[in-house]
Amino acid sequence: MKSNSHNVLALSALFIALFIMLLPDIAEARGGSFGGSRGGGGFRGGGRSFSSPRSSPTKSFGGTRSTGGRIGSSSPSVGKSSFGGSRMSNNSQYTSRYGAPRQSTPMTRTGANGMQQNYVVHNYGGYGSGLMTGYMLGHSSWMWGMPFHPAYYYSRPYEVVGANGVVEVYPPTFSFGQFFFTMLIMGLVIWLIIRIFKSRKSSNNGYGSQSSFN
């Protein structure tokens, strides 16, 4: 009975420790940097004027490319290859939740097929935007896919392919589902390890640690 309560305490402490470790990121995802209204044009840019997503560069336009077929398609060739973002049907899904971006930066990247693709990167500041920059620049690490790294609990950057073919990119958001599911799996693994050690111990010594007979 006593050891059971110790187990529960140990597991609870583990969950609390992990929760505290990720608390800054959770708080950030809840609205620390995101959401609300933009004040003063953002701290990074100072007095810079930023182009709005819809008035982003159009020099990549032209030729025979058709954007019509790609919007909403399941396997778009543009916007997916660089950093594997998540598609949104329109940017209002994101902005209605997190507000207007602090900064919107146009960017051109060459895709895997050698064609140039225009992006507009919407920066909201905070950890999610840092991750987005990492994904955009191809600086992601294998550690981001590990549960001990906060990036693991974030989604991929969100993409919206505009009618003009420009891909708008929004920062990843904290995934509570992923967080709790991972905690559940980790708790299960830890519980299994404890059970295995305990069952081994009891099979090695059927009479307890005080007896000379085992």
């Binding site: 299994l192 069952s199 009479y207 007979f213 085992n214």
Partner: protein, 162 residues
């Protein structure tokens, strides 16, 4: 002179064997059968530090590779346990029996047989981890301890030691 002590309350879970003052572990079976007629059987079977099972005469053989541990019972525990000590050079004439550190005399026979059972559970599998906890069923365990005295009126009396 080799000394063997058994500290117990009659249950295997609370039984410690001391050989020359050191608590031993890995014991599988212990049998002491002493009789005033000259019977002197004192055998121990244990799993040694080499992982092998050893069968030895307690007072005649050297208990090689026997595993020793720190004493597991506290003074408080010891108050609730009986301590039987036998010291001998391997024969009945040089044999002294002590119960709770007091020498006893008038013994006709002493019989102690303690055997650890085998866990009847099959090998634990991954699925068994999810099953509710069962009481470990140790099959074949045995704990007998009897001492027979001759009283002053020549009557005999048999008592349980632990």
């Amino acid at each position: 002179m080799p000394t063997l002590s058994i500290e117990s309350n009659g249950r295997l879970e609370k039984t410690a064997i001391y050989y020359n003052g050191q608590q031993v572990t890995g014991v599988k079976e212990l049998m002491i059968n002493l009789d005033e007629d000259g019977t002197f059987d004192a055998l121990i079977q244990y799993q040694g530090t080499d992982g092998q099972i050893h069968n030895k005469q307690i007072f005649a053989d050297y208990l090689s590779n026997i595993k020793t541990v720190e004493p597991s019972f506290t003074e408080e525990d010891a108050n609730e346990l009986q301590l039987l000590t036998v010291e001998s050079e391997g024969d009945i004439d040089s044999c002294g029996v002590f119960i709770n550190e007091e020498m006893v005399d008038g013994i006709i026979s002493l019989y102690v047989h303690i055997q650890a059972g085998q866990n009847s559970e099959s090998k634990s599998s991954l699925l068994s981890l999810f099953k509710p906890k069962k009481v470990v069923n140790m099959v074949g365990s045995s704990f007998k301890s009897e001492i027979t005295f001759r009283n002053e009126d020549n009557s005999t009396e048999t008592e349980e030691i632990f």
